[in-house]
Structures are given as C-alpha cells and as structure tokens.
Symmetry: C2
Subunit: 144 residues, 2 copies
C-alpha cells in the first residue's frame, strides 16, 4: 500500500466579501483565534488564518480570504459562486516531492513549482478539473 | 477568551457523480485509505470516509458523497454547482452543548437536534446562510 501523501487537512480556504466581519463571526461563534493576517499581492487577497487545532502532522486552520479587487481569482469566484469554500489545503512533508509524484500521475497543476503561502509555508495548487471540482492546495509548513 | 468550540477539521465533504471512481482517484493520487462506506437513506447519499490523519482531537477524513437520486440535497447541489466541496465538518466534544451555545448566538440551524452521521458519529448541520455560505457540520465522534 502506498503511504499517504497527505499529513493533515491543513486549512479550509473560505472566500468572503468582508474579512473583518468574517473574522469577527468565526471568533465570536466558534472561539477560534487569529494566528496571522497578511496581504498576498501575488494571489490578490488579504487574508487571516484562524487556528482550529494542533496535531502531530501540523496545525489546522480556517483561512478567510477577501479579494483585493474584482478581477482577482477570489474576486471572480465571489462574482460567480458567492461566499463559500474556495479551496482545501492539505499538509505534505515535502511539497516539491509531492508535486513530482502527483504530476507523474497526469494531474493538471496550477503551480509547476512551489510558491509562498500563508504563515511562511511553501505551497502549490492542483487544478480543480483534475481533482473532482476541488481546488486543492498542498502545504509544506514553514517549520517542516 | 472563549475556548474554541472546534477540536479539529473532522472532514471535507465532497459531492461527486461516481463514488467508486472518486474513491479510486483519492487512493491512487494521494494514498488515502478507505475507513468506511455506508449508505445514508435519510441524507440521500452513498458515501465513503477516506482517512487523512489522526490527532489528539480525533481523526480527519475526506468524505466522498454520491447522491442516491437527483432530488436529494447532494443531487441538487451537483445539478446547480457541479462536483466539488459540499460542506465542512468540524469536530466538537459535545454536539448537543455546541448546538445550544451556537443557536443562542442567533445562528440558523439545519438540525435542531443531533442526528446520526458517518462512522457512528452524532452530527448536526448549521445553515450556510448563517455561516458565510459554508454548509457547516458539527461532529461528535462515536468514540468521544
């Protein structure tokens, strides 16, 4: 049996129209704690990572994403689908090795090489057309 | 500070048209292992839980959902949105207590009382209109 490539559900990426209101909702309703905020110009979002749990494979988060403008990927997502789950991020030990293994299986990649993600992670996206409609992100945490 | 109500990301619920093909994909691509399969007539789905990771708060899974017919909630979701993420399930220690706490905050519930979920869990859904477009499930594992 092949060992699992995925070490955890790292985060659920959720598109929202108002980042501050969404943070306030998740903190007030579920008691989540903000672990970090950043603006990612390359991805066209401002975002917050809200800590859900720690585990041997790494922590897990709710990631709230507000687009910087309407013509960004998350802006277009909001226009066509409305607020909701935008992508799922899974933890991996080594994102470069994971990409190589997965692309060998014929999966279409959004990122041929890893790039910078939230909280200092190294990340890469797989195309939703190859993953049953799910925009799927592989996440190698900064500490790993 | 309020303690977090959520102990983990329990599962990502993914709507698919062909359960067997989707299972085969996740096993072959990511090395996930099938932890259980069942048919839930009340929810109108046949489904599989694929194990991602273990953690102190409980295990996490990819849940693949194929509708039993077109006029079920997941069948209607596929018609309007296509394959993709259907809902997110978060772990809680006590689903009844969590429902009481959350409904006190004015959140609209799909389930006023817990019902049976996958792998013997006790579960309840919160309405997506109250949770930023995300159909959100609370999961109390059978073992907890």
């Amino acid at each position: 049996m092949t060992a699992s490539l995925l070490t955890r559900i790292d985060h659920v990426g959720i598109a929202c129209r108002d980042l501050e209101a969404s943070i306030e909702f998740y903190v007030a309703t579920f008691g989540l704690v903000v672990a970090g905020r950043e603006t990612n110009e390359a991805q066209g979002v401002k975002e917050a990572m809200l800590h859900v749990a720690d585990a041997p494979g790494g922590a897990s988060y709710v990631q709230l994403l507000e687009p910087l403008s309407a013509d960004t990927p998350v802006g277009k997502f909001l226009d066509s689908r409305g607020e909701g789950v935008h992508h799922i991020g899974y933890g991996v030990v080594d994102v470069s090795a994971a990409l190589e293994q997965i692309s060998g299986g014929g999966i279409r990649l959004v990122d041929e090489r890893p790039r910078h993600g939230s909280l200092g992670a190294s990340i890469a996206f797989l195309h939703p057309k190859s993953v049953g409609g799910v925009l799927t992100e592989l996440v190698q945490s900064a500490g790993h």
